[in-house]
């Protein structure tokens, strides 16, 4: 009788441990996945080559995305992507430029005015004006669209 009780107790303990474990068991089965959705292969473009803007010690770098002569206007259209770091740098203003924040947030200082530009902000920078840029976080990206008069026009 005593041995039967002992066997029962051992079984009870063993069963309890098993159930306790089962309640929390991790299973590889739960990681199985259905087939992936259909996707189209994409042809990747070559990466952009960003070059430091002169006088900014690398705090402002740019890559030309698009450059095209516009004969009707006798101008060159240029679209650039600019990387802005968290150090102040002077924006080149040799031509009128439309600036759009593509990623991150940018502080600008123009004269006495200091302004924050979040992603999506668009503004015009006049030729010859003085404007400094600085990423509010660690890095920001702006797109600069310029119409430049052809030399000698």
């Amino acid at each position: 009788m005593k041995s039967s009780r002992t066997v029962q107790s051992v079984l009870l303990l063993f069963g309890s441990a098993l159930l306790l474990f089962a309640g929390c068991a991790r299973t590889e089965v739960d990681e199985e996945a259905p087939p992936e959705p259909v996707r189209h292969a994409q042809k990747l473009r070559p990466p952009l080559e960003y070059r430091a803007v002169e006088g900014t010690q690398g705090a402002l770098r740019q890559a030309v995305l698009y450059s095209q002569k516009v004969p009707a206007l006798s101008t060159d259209l240029e679209v650039r992507s600019m990387l802005v770091l968290a150090r102040e740098s002077v924006l080149p203003t040799d031509r009128e430029t439309l600036v759009e924040v593509r990623a991150g947030e940018v502080w600008t200082v123009s004269g006495a005015e200091r302004k924050a530009h979040p992603t999506g902000d668009i503004w015009l920078v006049g030729k010859g004006s003085h404007m400094t840029l600085k990423a509010k976080g660690e890095m920001a990206v702006v797109r600069a669209i310029s119409l430049a008069a052809k030399p000698g026009r």
Binding site: Q8, A33, E100, M139
Partner: protein
């Protein structure tokens, strides 16, 4: 007869144990559990009626630290545990009872132990003495985890600087949950002689180890190599078999988040950006081992990569960290790993079983990546290779309740043309259908009244979320809302799934064009004004809600 009674007893005990095996009414770690679901599955007291009576003035309480809480509270055995990000003091606060809201113990203690304990505890707060950057320092930004198997103790474990070690070497600390006595401090994980620290990364407990990551000591100045460490719970020693580095060369891939555990026991990590574009002096070459800006599954035996999702190609890295922790969602369409990247895209990947997985359709040179099961907003092809994926501050993780995801992401606004809806909206909480088609992804939309939305939590069909203002540690009022999922309370307001700015009430009906749909706005069933921003997950435990703010207020909200 006796044996029948015994069998009945055994059956009852068996049922209880089967349930008890996983039952935790507590909130044991960051995001509630190792899946980081931020869901309390056992909450039954807080229903719509009770949530509307939550307060801190009569039945509830408030505690002020005098510093700032950027970590989220952890709750165990009627005690709330949280470290202060500014003062470097770790608190255990009574969650209920006659002493509710009062300090049960603090670490370091006001008086140093004599004789000295195993950790060489002094009264110096756990602060980094030099250079810490954003709210990830100088004190304790890591949320605590509870383990009942630490050298015979139930312990509370968190990452923090050691003031007695080179001005704040980063270590894991294991304190006795009842007394606050130090059981061990781990070997150094983030030495001050290097460029890393334990920031927001919170330990996750599995396999008798505590896992956590390191990130840049001063954010991206310089970027550090992201690493994941495993510390043995028995003695606080690092397990040399499980180091994971996000790169094998140039810095990158800081782990700002808390790793999660998959159902099979494997590790899920998210990593930060590379130095490819952020540092002019960084090598222009792509590291041969590039796990930056990724969500990745690691084999827990050896930390080998089992799959990697890197939605933005490294050449287009404009700082779209995965800053938020990943979460694991068990759904009827499989188990998904879900996370939001700083650019605002939410990606969901099937966790998958077996060995290494990749798909050439989402890979590129030098990278073997997987495709997500879905992305929100939809991403027809990956990796991204445009310049709009950057530091856009979608940094708060979500919550998940089976197939219902609650998260702040960029939504359709991300793909709109500025300025018509192209603005980044950080205060918009989405409920997403994890198993739906792209057209049916959005379940509902709710705009939190504030600059941003904090990390939500969910229990009993109710969603708890606070307003967040990043970098704000002032004592300004912030909203705290309780929302009823639309399956719990039928919505009466509706918006377009692409609201183009703040949603305006519109009647239900086919008023959305261009493929967007009319979706409900969930009913707000509870509301409080709390002091300070609320970046972290509220902790829900045994009929109460615990909320920490960056103004150093810890609230115990009771119905």
């Amino acid at each position: 007869m006796s044996s029948i009674r015994e069998l009945r007893g055994l059956s009852l005990a068996a049922g209880f144990l089967l349930l008890a095996g996983c039952r935790h009414d507590n909130w044991m770690m960051y995001g509630h559990d190792s899946s980081h679901s931020a869901q309390q599955p056992h909450e039954k007291t807080l229903d719509v009626a009770a949530a509307g009576t939550l307060n801190f003035t009569s039945t509830g309480w408030v505690f002020q630290s005098g510093g700032s809480f950027v970590a989220s509270p952890t709750v165990y055995d009627d005690t709330v545990y949280i470290g202060d990000g500014v003062t470097g003091i770790f608190y255990a606060v009574h969650a209920r009872g006659p002493n509710q809201g009062k300090v049960r113990w603090r670490y370091p203690p006001a008086v140093a132990p004599t004789p000295a304990d195993a950790c060489g505890t002094t009264t110096a707060p756990l602060l980094l003495s030099v250079g810490s950057g954003n709210p990830s320092g100088p004190g304790i930004a890591s949320s605590a985890a509870i383990s009942d198997d630490v050298a015979g103790h139930t312990a509370v474990i968190f990452g923090a600087p050691d003031p007695t070690s080179n001005g704040g070497d980063g270590r894991l600390w294991a304190l006795d949950a009842q007394t606050g006595q130090c059981i061990w401090k781990s070997e150094v994980i983030a030495p001050t002689s290097g460029s890393s620290k334990i920031g927001y990364s919170s330990p996750v407990i599995a396999h008798d180890h505590a896992y956590l990551g390191v990130s840049a000591r001063v954010p991206d100045a310089p970027i550090t190599v992201g690493q994941l460490f495993a510390v043995k719970l028995s003695d606080g020693k690092k397990d040399p078999a499980i180091p994971f580095s996000a790169t094998n060369g140039p810095a990158g891939g800081g782990i700002w988040s808390s790793p999660a555990i998959t159902p099979g026991g494997n590790l899920l990590v998210t990593t930060g950006n590379s130095c490819f574009n952020s540092d002019p002096d960084c090598s222009p070459n792509v590291p041969s081992q590039d796990y930056t800006m990724s969500m990745a599954k690691l084999d827990w035996h050896n930390n080998q990569i089992l799959w990697q999702l890197q939605p933005v190609a490294i050449q287009h890295d404009h700082d779209p960290d995965y800053a938020a922790s990943p979460m694991v969602a068990k759904t009827h369409c499989g188990t998904l790993a879900i996370g939001v990247q700083k650019d605002g895209y939410v990606h969901a990947v099937h966790v998958r079983s077996g060995g290494f997985h990749s798909n050439p359709l989402c890979s590129y040179a030098g990278h073997n990546l997987v495709c997500p099961h879905w992305s929100f907003p939809p991403a027809p092809s990956l990796p991204f290779e445009d310049d709009s994926h950057g530091d856009t501050r979608f940094i708060r993780p979500g919550a998940v309740d089976h197939g219902r995801v609650y998260i702040t992401g960029g939504g359709y606004n991300l793909t709109a043309i500025a300025p018509y809806g192209g603005a980044i909206i950080l205060n918009r909480l989405y409920s997403l259908n994890a198993c739906g088609e792209d057209d049916d992804r959005v379940r509902w939309i709710y705009d939190v009244n504030g600059a941003g939305a904090g990390a939500p939590s969910v229990a009993n069909g109710l969603i708890y979320v606070g307003a967040d203002t990043e970098f704000d540690t002032s004592a300004t009022p912030h909203d705290f809302d309780v929302l009823a999922d639309t399956e719990v309370v039928k919505a009466t307001k509706f918006v377009c799934s692409y609201p183009q700015g703040p949603p305006a009430p519109i009647p239900p009906g086919p008023v959305c064009s261009a493929g967007f749909k009319t979706v409900p706005v969930p009913e707000r069933v509870g509301h409080l004004t709390l002091t300070g921003a609320i970046p972290g997950h509220p902790a829900i435990a045994e009929g109460r809600v615990f909320v920490a703010t960056t103004a150093g207020y810890l609230y115990g909200l009771a119905p």
